[in-house]
Amino acid sequence: MSPLRRLVGLVLPHWRGVLLATALGAATVLSSVGLMAASAFIIAAAALHPSIAELEVAIVGVRFFGISRGVFRYGERLVSHDLTFRILARLRVWFYTAIEPLAPARLGGARSGDLLARAISDVEALEELFVRAFAPPLVALGVAAVTAGFLSRYHPELAAAYLAFFALGGVAAPLVMRRLSRGVGPRQRALAAEIHQAVVESVQGLPDLLACGAEGAAVERVAVLGNELAAAQTRMGRIDALDAASGTLVANLGTWCLLVLAVPMVRAARFDGVSLAVLTLAALASFEAVQTLPAAAQYLEGQLAAARRLLEIADADPAVTDPAEPLPLSEVSDASPVRISGLCFAYPGSPAPALDGIDLELRAGGSLALVGPSGAGKSTLAALLLRFWEGWEGRIELWGHDIRRYRQEDVRRALGMVSQSTHLFAASVRDNLLLARPDASDAELWAALERGRLAAFVAGLQDGLDTWIGEQGLQLSGGQRQRLALARALLAGPPLLLLDEPTANLDAVTEREVLSAIHEATAGRSTLTITHRLVAMERFDEIVVLDRGRIVARGRHHELLEAGGLYARLWSLQHGQLLEEPLPPAHPGGEEVRK
């Protein structure tokens, strides 16, 4: 379907609001038309010195239109903004529902952040779809129809001439401007993007630039691009200026043309001189509705581009689909939670396999660690268990059954996961926990916090469970965030825990705290841990060492150390490192520094 039809489809369900907003918008402009027409009538009629009674209706009209314009404008703004928000809700839900099955595999992996940021600005651009792009032409049509009807009462030729000028301003002028700006607009945007990149590079890479003595060149580059942009903007500025100029030109020339046509008609006694004054001013005022059309056409173009980009994302096929007759995963048997054999997987478009012939088994209640250098395939394995990717070969069984026979959502609920960058939502502690289990009672929340060793901290907060944790949970420390993520994962009572580098971004002291919370909470629970930090490795039943997608060794900690090999090298490497501990709590002279 074309983007325009999709956009119309977003607005159409709200046709009542659309009609009301259009009617109010047209009534706003028509109030001005009425005001000028009635005023012209009063003045022209008064010049003939009639009795005041003959002016009374017109005087009432002038008063009415004087007030009604503001009222209509107010109503139009309220209705159209209400409509804007309703369309926005529809747009957001549509987009979310469309991309939900795509995440994360079809959302560009590492670049999903950029992709989403662009998508959100596109959604924002579409917010004003109705107000800026759809409403102006609708209002203009309404005003043109009423005014032309009014003029045709005097003479059809007048109405025809009027409509011709209306079309000139509303259709021809936007088309001409679009043609003129065809080359300049994209060039201006491209240059602006280039400047943005140059600036971001100069600021973020400033230390490197200074150290290399290249800062002058960077400033020069911003200046050169700035001059090119200025040249493009100047051309664009001249085209933009046509907007206002063509608006007044069309309105006044249109009125002029009506005047020239109407003067002989007065002479021919088709209508009187009073009407000449009335119709001239009415037409002049009605051209207000044309003035916004060139801008509306420009907006629509931008919005269509945004819609096209959104559709490109949303129309992708999901990476993973659910089986037609899913197996229930409510009752978990005693079978091994995870059994993998002969698993091979390569990311689409990548020649090298990310996983190559993996065999492993996690028994009920057991704990298994996957270790290895970055890029070994550890996180890929987790992604496959979470059903983020399809297209692997071999077998993955959960609790004795092929993982593909379950619904994705059921699998994920059965796997409690804590990763190095678990997303926390800009909401309260409670809301973040409830995501895992919406029906949990407060007592259960506190119990989960207790197991995550965060209960004492939350209890000490002024708002307790209702404390707002900030965007991405940034009001909490790194360790607190990970413990909250742990509590959230535990709250759902998952039969299998998946820990993906849960302490990767923490300093050594916090790492130990979080690890001890994890150890306590996972005792006796089936746990699969992915880590490249080799801390407290003795406690795992089995350690599987991955390198470039293959299992190169497996066994318990001391066995692997004795065997030498990659594990032993990783171990010694990690222990040849000076860790940057946070500042020790008390130190002589420390007080002085803090003063």
Binding site: S202, A223, L229, R413, T422, L573, L578
Partner: protein, 583 residues
């Protein structure tokens, strides 16, 4: 009204264009008046005198001329205003970019880099509407109504008085409403912003929601929150839109008053028709500039806010002081001395009267030619600050640093940095090829030299890993390099620069034993024969250093060789113990 004096100062270079834009706008206003005059003449003669089209033809032609002139002047005025805005923006952008570079990384650290780029790009563009639409309109809103009022006054005193009496109400209303909106609804807007951010939050957390098996239900939550957002916002808008209502009403009711007043006097023969019609035609034109100003009022506010942030940067003092240049007196491999050096980062968000806390204090050491000084210590102890001071990203707050006895402040920072190669933990990669990124260190280097430097940095294999070798595009739109790959590029830059002094911020390990060994070898060769200041993260590195400085809370807590320090029960031993290393 919202003409911030400082903001006006920023526009000074473009002043003639602004004046021209306003003059053209006034010209367009005059053409409007002329058109109204001719129009009223035509209608009056046809209506009252029964004139033919031929009889009024001169007037008709003059009317057409006035109409075309008005459009032409409007176009020229708008185009000139655009030119004015573009000139000011371009000049400001260049000034800001130059100033930012002089402020150096000390001003632009961490999260502030994003904010600074935003100001430089979006902040400048936010001025556009202010400069192009608001500022000229501000002048026109004062001039055109005055001009129209003067003309009307000359022809009809009473109507002129009506216009003049109602005009001030519009700006006054605007100020009152603006102030009320600002103070009252700020908190409300904050709550709204929170709700508005929800959608972004959900999209960013989509994977997390999926992992929890709760992603499908979120569509309903989005619907609910957006509905709540709509209701709350409409509550605010119901009040905010009252300003639009009031502005529209002022203009239309005043026009209505003029029409009725003029009509009645006409009725009793106190006024000629033509005068009355002329006044009626001018009444909307009288209010139009004021209404336009009202509709651009918020754009004006946004411009003032953007300008405040731009000024904030331009007024930040440069942290490097230079007087004279005695670079010639410093040898190729100078002795560098830190003498009781202290440094405090320029504070932000700190009360003005409290002195900044020192990042480092009482730092004294000597870096002899060809020797290695290793700096170790906990996060936040001030290790990077010492490296920054040596690179002259800032000058000490107290104490001094000398090279061959010449104080840093008497050396040009650019020429000093020519002697230093810097290897950061995570170099910044610019959009371009791998070769471009290496060549940054020495723009004139030949392809062969670049390749030699890359090989010296043990990055030969890196070239094979990348699709088009040295010519591979990296950065935003190209291949993303891993931490280990970027590290090797940083080393290659240093090899290419071949400077006598080396500042090395050693990377924490990548847990790839082979790569680790190769990097260590390359680093060792780089350090050889050079004076090196190393922020050390590896035992192997500190063992080879001539002197180790142990930093704690900005001060040197201990110093000596590895063997000396490891033998003492001091901070160095604690550091080793915390890292799980047996001393």
């Amino acid at each position: 009204m919202h003409v911030d004096a400082k903001l006006l100062r920023l526009t000074a270079p473009g002043r003639p264009r602004l004046v021209l834009a306003v003059a053209l706008g006034v010209g367009a206003g005059l053409a409007t008046v002329a058109a109204a005059y001719e129009l009223s003449g035509i209608v009056a003669r046809v209506f009252l005198d029964g004139a033919t089209l031929a009889a009024v033809m001169p007037l008709v032609v003059r009317l057409a001329a006035a109409i075309v002139l008005r459009a032409a002047l409007t176009w020229a005025g708008e185009a000139t205003a655009a030119l004015f805005a573009i000139g000011v923006k371009t000049g400001l952008r260049n000034r800001l970019a130059a100033h930012l570079v002089r402020l150096g990384p000390v001003a632009a650290t961490g999260e502030r880099t994003g904010e600074l780029s935003t100001i430089l790009v979006d902040g400048i563009e936010a001025l556009d509407t202010y400069l192009r639409r608001y500022l000229p309109q501000l002048a026109l809103a004062a001039l055109i109504p005055l001009m129209v009022a003067a003309l009307v006054l000359a022809r009809d005193l009473l109507s002129g008085i009506v216009l003049l009496a109602t005009a001030p109400a519009i700006p006054i209303l605007m100020i009152l409403i603006g102030k009320a909106a600002e103070s009252k609804s700020r908190r409300q807007w904050q709550a709204l912003a929170r709700m508005g951010a929800h959608f972004l939050d959900v999209l960013q957390g989509l994977t997390a929601l999926k992992i929890l098996g709760r992603s499908r239900e979120q569509a309903k939550v989005i619907q609910r929150i957006t509905d709540r957002f709509r209701q709350a916002t409409m509550g605010v808008l119901r009040v905010a839109f009252l300003s639009a209502l009031a502005l529209e009403m002022m203009a239309t009711i005043s026009t209505a008053v003029v029409a009725v007043e003029v009509g009645l006097r006409l009725l009793y023969g106190h006024l000629a028709f033509r005068e009355a019609f002329f006044v009626l035609l001018l009444a909307p034109e009288f209010y139009l500039p004021l209404r336009l100003l009202g509709s651009r009022f918020h754009a004006g506010l946004a411009g003032v806010n953007a300008a405040a942030r731009i000024l904030d940067i331009l007024e930040t003092p440069v942290p490097v002081r230079t007087r004279g240049d005695r670079s010639a007196e410093v040898g190729a491999k100078p002795v560098i001395r830190f003498e009781d050096v202290a440094f405090a980062y320029p504070g932000r968000g700190r009360p003005a009267d409290t002195p900044a806390p020192f990042a480092v204090q009482g730092i004294g050491f000597e870096l002899e030619p060809g020797c290695t000084v290793a700096v170790v210590g906990p996060t936040g102890a001030g290790k990077s600050t010492i490296a920054h001071l040596l690179l002259r990203f800032a000058d000490p707050t107290a104490g001094r640093i000398t090279a061959d006895g010449v104080t840093f402040e008497e050396l040009s920072p650019e020429r000093w940095r020519e002697r230093i190669a810097w290897v950061p933990q995570r170099p910044y990669l610019f959009a371009g090829t791998v070769a471009d990124n290496v060549r940054l260190a020495r723009p004139g280097a030949s392809d062969a030299e670049v390749e030699a430097a890359v090989r010296a940095a043990q990055a030969g294999q890196l070239i094979h890993e990348l699709p088009s070798g040295l010519q591979t595009q990296i950065g935003e739109r190209g291949v993303r390099l891993s931490g280990g790959q970027a590290q090797r590029l940083a080393l290659a830059r240093a090899f290419l620069k071949d400077a006598p002094i080396l500042v090395l911020d050693e990377a924490t390990s990548h847990l790839d034993p082979e790569l680790e060994a190769r990097l260590r070898e390359a680093t060792e060769r780089l350090v050889e024969g050079r004076s090196a200041l190393v922020i050390a993260h590896r035992l192997a590195t500190v063992r080879r250093a001539d002197t180790i400085l142990v930093l704690e809370q900005g001060r040197i807590a201990d110093r000596g060789s590895h063997d000396q320090l490891a033998a003492r029960s001091g901070p160095y031993r604690r550091l080793l113990a915390a890292s799980g290393v047996a001393a």
